[in-house]
Symmetry: C2
């Protein structure tokens, strides 16, 4: 079993605080994790691979992207501390996934296999209830991301990102941010210059 | 209680066939529905309203859309027979919804209140399990719709729609299809003309 100090405070708070696991349940749960580092530029999942585990991001950040038919990467999300890695659809269907999860910085993660997680959900009903709620919240996030793409301009999405998640700009290269808000990197640079000049 | 013939075969097959409700469970379940017609152009939900019920589409079709900040409608889905109406996020969070669900043709629906549906889920565990699975499938559909918007052109989305759902073109005005695939109606007409000429 991993030593207790391997588990960060956010992780402990999530499971023993918000979710309300007892110390005994939490100890038992933690036994099923292993810790490792995904080196910068390495992948946790790739298109075509089947997700049979999930990994909690303890430190570091990454990006999730899909590839269009011309081989161009389209970023769908950034993956920071307290997020989980793994292809959502592949995890639940067992089919090959469509996404790539790649480290932008070295990422320290805590991984649990799908088999163990399902066993844990059976043994700790709170965990199952929590994940049902989490799936719904994840769906709402995706729905709102789709609504954003359909109703806002790239500039509006950029300004929203600066307002809501300014820390992203310290950790993520600008070309990735351009891809996330559906712009070409050159257009984003021009737009940033224009916005700075008019500020 | 509504007479048995009110419930269409697809509805009966879903609950007694695929889901495996007993006749007794199904009768009990059906007692909680009411039937009515949403007239063409009328709404089932609007932005700002709270979804406290869900309605099964027995006959007719509609559209779901969101409004951008300039008051322009952006269609996110078409609602045909065997679909359910209601704002997904509002139903689960109890917060005001962001979507409009409007009838394109007169729609005959079978409605159940959220209170009754939750009660049914408690009393018929299969129903709860089925809906948990349905929520996941709904999430996958939305994820894939987001991926489509991020990786395909309007023309590709149009050709995919013709291939997969040709019946839509018989029932839905072209300007709605344009909005769904994120085009202006005039551009869609020009594209259709070009594709017909080159066919």
């Amino acid at each position: 079993m991993l030593p207790h100090e391997t588990f960060p405070q956010l992780f402990i708070d999530l499971f023993t605080g918000k979710m309300g696991m007892s110390d005994q349940e939490f100890d038992f749960f933690c036994k099923h994790f292993k810790a490792f580092t995904i080196k910068k530029k390495d992948f946790y999942v790739k298109e075509g691979s089947i997700t049979n585990s999930k990994a909690y991001v303890k430190k570091g950040c990454g990006r999730s992207f899909i590839m269009d038919k011309n081989g161009k990467e389209r970023i769908t999300n950034f993956l920071f501390e307290d997020w989980w890695l793994g292809d959502f659809e592949s995890y639940y269907t067992g089919n090959p996934g469509k996404t790539y999860h790649q480290a932008i910085e070295d990422m320290d993660v805590l991984e649990i296999s799908k088999t163990d997680f399902l066993k844990m959900e059976d043994e700790i009903p709170k965990l199952k209830m929590w994940y049902e709620l989490k799936i719904k919240k994840h769906s709402f996030a995706i729905i709102n991301q789709l609504y954003d793409v359909k109703t806002t301009t790239c500039e509006e999405r950029y300004l929203e990102l600066i307002k809501k998640h300014p820390q992203i700009f310290q950790r993520v290269p600008l070309q990735y941010i351009a891809s996330y808000i559906d712009m070409e990197p050159q257009s984003l640079s021009r737009m940033r210059k224009r916005l700075q000049e008019s500020a």
